[in-house]
């Protein structure tokens, strides 16, 4: 793993104001970094703020506060047109539902070339076509598919189009927002293998947003566990899966289903007690160089003594 930091996020917050009395703190004072060439995964239940985090990084939303440094440039605040171009080219996103993210009235050729077109990078007609064909081939589709519409594809193929569309900009960093959760298990494996192959070939850096913890373990280098807008625990795959300390992480891990009926019969699952931990009063503590956790003094000492009675049932 290279130690070059590609993306650094400091104290990032994203609030949504519903009305005078209610503000939703979707992402609340989050800090982390992503190294070049690694796969960083963000896991958590729905509503934990993981998708909002991804969308804020790529500037679908403007951050409420905090700073984001990407490849040495500040992209958290107001963007100059130069920075905007830089960001659009180097950071791309793939979404969960491939049908909803493709325009049903656009042929594959135009859907994939759209990023080039609006950034004036497509060149002449042949050049544009060449680029699209090349990227389609690299995701396992062929020239025959160029003139088809999204509805003529299966779910797995549509997701490949989504990947092709991100890839054509030759980005350095791709945010993958639940890209496999709408697919069948057998197809999930195909898409994941594709993503890993592309990562090797192009030296890409990924941020995976997911709730499927077995897949995350398989493909990540580092993992951040998010809950209610906070990163509650962060570390390498080994830190999180072998030595989890936070009760929320423990409850998530205990919920992973195993294809093993006998073991499942007497498996103990933990339910996280809501309101047991107030994230706003905790501070980030380092357990090791790579492993950190959000906790107060008291919580921290309890968890280290393996006392979870107040937090799990």
């Amino acid at each position: 793993m290279s130690a070059n930091v590609l993306l650094e996020v400091k104290n990032l917050s994203q609030f949504f104001r519903i009305d005078r009395h209610t503000t939703i703190r979707a992402v609340d004072d989050v800090s982390f970094h992503i190294n070049e060439g690694e796969t960083f995964s963000v896991v958590g239940e729905s509503g934990s703020g993981k998708s909002t985090l991804g969308r804020t990084l790529i500037r679908i939303y403007d951050a409420h506060s905090g700073s984001v440094t990407f490849m040495g440039r500040e992209i958290g605040g107001k963007l100059s047109s130069d920075s905007r171009k830089f960001l659009r080219k180097n950071m791309q996103m793939i979404f969960q539902d491939p049908m909803a993210s493709l325009n049903p009235r656009k042929k594959v050729l135009d859907a994939v070339a759209f990023g080039l077109d609006i950034n004036h990078l497509s060149g002449d007609k042949n050049e544009r076509l060449d680029k699209v064909v090349k990227v389609l081939k690299s995701v396992g589709l062929s020239e025959d598919h160029l003139t088809r519409y999204p509805h003529q594809f299966s779910g797995g193929q549509r997701q490949r189009i989504g990947v092709a569309r991100a890839l054509i900009m030759e980005p350095r960093f791709i945010i993958c927002d639940e890209i496999i959760s709408a697919l069948d298990v057998s197809i999930q494996a195909q898409v994941i293998n594709l993503m890993r192959r592309l990562q090797k070939e192009h030296g890409l850096t990924y941020m995976f947003i997911a709730h499927d913890l077995s897949m995350v373990r398989y493909l990540s280098d580092r993992v951040a566990v998010m809950h209610l807008g906070h990163i509650v625990e962060m570390g390498t795959v080994e830190d999180i899966y072998e030595h989890p300390l936070h009760p929320y992480t423990k409850s998530l891990l205990s919920a992973i289903p195993h294809p093993d009926p006998d073991a499942e019969k007497d498996r103990k699952r933990f339910v996280y007690i809501k309101g047991g931990v107030d994230y706003n009063i905790g501070t980030i503590r380092q357990l090791s160089d790579t492993h950190s956790i959000l906790a107060t003094d008291e919580e921290f000492s309890r968890w280290q003594q393996n006392d979870y009675s107040l937090f799990l049932k």
């Binding site: 057998s186 197809i187 293998n193 077995s214 398989y218 409850s251 919920a255 289903p257 073991a263 499942e264």
Partner: protein, 359 residues
């Protein structure tokens, strides 16, 4: 039909007309459901698993038609003895009045689309009780609704009955859908991918709930899913479907620890293993066949590295492996060459067996 069976499907064929073509989605399938057990039907999208349950419920669209086959269901009317009816012979009116909702209920995948956004959840649960005359009065229906919500683990049910679906989270909504399905105390519950739209923690809670309800009410369950990883926890028996056929069927332990059909191998291998990062996850190449013109032999042969020549010529029969375990693969024929399952899977099963022998 055997004493302990509640539902039996024999040699069922089902097709849909599409213009001039006929899409043969279910091809001669047979299976049964024992009283009080959970049968998981597993397969990819398009394998025919959902449409099988729709056939059981008499919910086939107008362009669909049944070929041969029968669906036997053990049913009872108040004050009468049990009788066995063939659901394929009954008309829509009978199905609506005596079967659907009252005897066989279904939970769909997406709780948001199966609830009415303009109706309070209390009303939606009461609706089928009143329709099927399971309760004498609205007051009684309300009391039972509150009991049901409590049963499916919703806190403060008295308050919740007056709320609308949008006021509940995804997991809560799925609990309401389950409460509706249970409102008429059905004998059979069909769960069509009930956890696919939910995240892991909620998924495990809903699975626990379904298991718990089965213990309390004794309902028989058909559980439909594409993910073999999910059902290890709930299934007593598993049927694996591919291209409109059941290719392997057996007790959960037989399917997970001793799978025989290459397709089952493929499904099990594509679940990433939790210990260690393999270089590449096994994935089944290609896509399921088009059933407008189904392949002659074993439909999976075209995607299988284990296919024999005969697989392309002739449909394999169901070979019996034990009293409860069957698989349709020519590899089980006595004169077939011996092949081994994918290495990842063999390793994983060896690890399971080692752990089992230690205990």
């Amino acid at each position: 039909m055997k004493e302990n069976r509640i539902l039996e499907v024999n040699h069922l064929d089902l097709s849909f007309r599409l213009g001039n073509e006929v899409n043969h989605v279910i091809r001669d399938i047979s299976f049964h459901l024992n009283q009080g057990e959970t049968l998981a039907i597993v397969g990819e999208s398009g394998s025919g698993k959902s449409v099988t349950t729709k056939a059981i419920l008499g919910m086939i669209d107008d362009n669909g038609f049944l070929g041969k086959g029968e669906i036997l269901f053990r049913t009872s009317r108040t004050g009468k003895e049990d009788e066995i009816v063939d659901l394929t012979k009954k008309d829509k009116k009978y199905m609506q009045k005596y079967v659907r909702g009252s005897k066989i209920a279904i939970i769909f995948q997406d709780p948001m689309t199966s609830l009415d956004p303009t109706m309070t959840i209390g009303k939606q649960i009461m609706e089928s009780m009143l329709e099927h005359k399971k309760v004498a009065s609205k007051k009684e229906a309300m009391a039972k609704t509150i009991q049901l919500l409590d049963l499916v683990g919703i806190e403060q049910p008295e308050k919740r009955v007056r709320q609308y679906p949008h006021q509940l989270s995804g997991g809560m909504r799925q609990r309401v859908v389950i409460a509706i399905a249970l409102a008429c105390e059905p004998d059979v519950l069909i769960a069509d991918e009930p956890t696919t739209a939910l995240d892991v923690t909620i998924q495990s809670q809903i699975l626990e709930l379904i298991k718990d309800l089965q213990k309390k009410t004794g309902v028989s369950i058909i559980f439909i899913t594409h993910d073999l990883g999910v059902v290890a926890n709930v299934a007593d028996r598993v049927a694996v479907m591919y291209a409109g056929k059941i290719v392997e069927e057996g007790l959960a332990s037989e399917i997970y620890y001793d799978p025989r059909h290459p397709y089952t191998w493929g499904l099990l291998s594509s679940i990433p293993s939790l210990d260690g990062q393999d270089e590449e996850i096994y994935s089944i190449p290609g896509t399921p066949p088009n059933l407008i013109d189904p392949p002659k032999g074993d439909a999976f042969a075209y995607r299988s590295e284990y296919a024999l020549e005969i697989d392309f010529e002739e449909q394999p029969p169901m070979f019996q492996i034990s009293d409860t375990h069957f698989a349709a693969s020519w590899l089980l024929h006595p004169s077939a060459p011996k092949v081994d399952m994918p290495l990842v899977l063999a390793k994983r099963i060896a690890a399971f067996n080692e752990r089992r022998s230690q205990e």
